[in-house]
């Protein structure tokens, strides 16, 4: 369907004295003398919010794993848990959730004592869409998306994250931002500044009736 808009034609006065031009000129000159609002990029950088979907990392075992899920999975697959190493239990759920599964290369290996451990975990980020499905699928809170976003590299090989790199990113993330409160909304005072007070009052819902 075509929506027809009726625009008021310019009056003779407006045409003769270019009033619409002058209106536009007023807007631009006003903006020209306001302070600038951009970030001076390579010299100033913004920190993305905690939920930013950037480069991937493997969180390592440090005592903050989600319990009891972590030990359930560890016991099911007979995984060897080592402090400071990846939490990965090689369940392959990330690969199944992924829209481009071939970007994952995951292998586990059996140690002499019968326990299992992840040995290969490659992610080819040239194929990745950064949708975050793999992160949602991870049952032990291991695979995670960090706030690293300056990901340009000189070769295709550099765009493949190996297990070692993933662990390094994860360790750095846990040290830097793990304890930060996970804010979906900005803090209350910032939110009020942005959108103002919510004046609408709904009737209280009755539970269990």
């Amino acid at each position: 369907m075509i929506k027809k808009l009726r625009v008021k034609p310019l009056s003779l006065l407006e045409k003769v004295f270019f009033l619409d031009f002058l209106r536009g000129l007023r807007v631009t000159i006003k903006n020209a003398f306001k302070p600038t609002i951009t970030t001076h990029y390579p010299y100033q950088r913004l920190t993305p919010p905690k939920r930013f979907r950037g480069f991937f990392g493997h969180k390592v075992v440090d005592g903050t794993e989600p319990q009891p899920a972590f030990y359930e999975w560890v016991n099911r697959y007979n995984i060897k848990v080592e402090y400071g190493k990846s939490r990965c239990v090689v369940c392959m759920r990330c690969k199944r959730a992924c829209p481009v599964p071939q970007l994952f290369e995951i292998e586990g290996k059996k140690l002499p004592d019968g326990k299992r451990v992840v040995s290969v975990f490659n992610m080819n980020l040239l194929l990745c869409t950064y949708c975050g499905f793999c992160v949602d699928a991870c049952p032990v809170d291991c695979l995670y998306q960090t706030d690293l976003h300056e990901t340009a590299s000189y070769s295709r090989k550099d765009a493949v994250l190996t297990l070692e790199v993933l662990e390094r990113i994860g360790r750095e993330w846990q040290r830097r931002r793990e304890r930060e409160p996970d804010l979906i909304w900005p803090p209350e005072e910032e939110r009020l500044k942005l959108w103002g007070e919510n004046g609408l009052k709904l009737p209280e819902t009755q539970r269990g009736k």
Partner: protein, 349 residues
Amino acid sequence: MHSFWVDLLVALIKMLVILGVALGVGAFLTWVERKVAAHIQRRPGPMVVGWHGLLQPIADGLKLMTKEDLFPRYGDKFLYHLAILLALVPAVLVFSVVPFGPEFELFGYKVRPILSDVNVGILLVFAFGSMAVYAIALAGWASNSKYPLIASMRKAGVLVSYEVVITFAVMGPLILAGTLSTYEIVERQIEQKLWYIWLQPVAFVVYMFAVLAEMGRVPFDVQEAEAELVTGFTVEYGGMKFGLFPLVEWYVEGITLSAIAVVLFFGGWSPLNVPFVGFVDPLFFLGGLSPFVWFVLKTALLFGFILWLHWTLPRYRIDQITQTAWKVMLPLTLANIVFTALIAPLVWR
């Protein structure tokens, strides 16, 4: 014989000064334009090279000079290079008839700060201005590519229409001054104690529109039309050859046409004017420098206004542009000439 050598030396010095000013200021204006555009869009603009990006034009020039020089297959090499010369030379030549200030004495010699005070100065300006069409048409043709050709056709259409209009628009001030020499036009305005803008507002508005069209500025930048034609007729040029076209078209021509507008409508180097009463000079403390400062100030303000317009308005369609030229501007200027002829005896006295 002695005075001949002195005249030659003075002319040479003037030439060097004018060339330096034209090209140097032209390059520097790229920085000004980028700053104005940026602040209107609330960005800081170039900030890295030098204080607030002040050395950016030099960096840009170096970059352009070290770039690979491409030439389109099956292009016409002679015309391709001729177009650059045809764009640059007439635009700089126009400076030869721009009077920068009144006559002054230096070491006992009287010096007029104008390169050649020919008695058909204004005619020369528009003759050189019309030569821009050749540069653009040749550039478009010699590139052997669709975009430049379309762009040059568009620009030629716009230029042909607005050359007519601009010539009729300046007829008003010329009638009031009774001379074609740029230097004398300013002197007349000082004698008559009148900036011609007060009696010729219509001519001024039409002149400004024509300047925008000649410079290829918004709202008449159909020959560039980034969204449609990439960069217009400069598509197939590379390196400094590419840099010269906008430098000439936007900046050198911009300064000359602003300067000519100042000469015709704002009394050249004269200070602020109260019509028919006299002049008020708030810059009297500068003494002999004051006229030069006034001239530069007025030209700069006018050029700034053109920049301001450029970053405000959207673009017209090519048919709307030519329609405005032939159906609105031309009758307006003709009516203005009749009006001027009627009131001219009042001004002459």
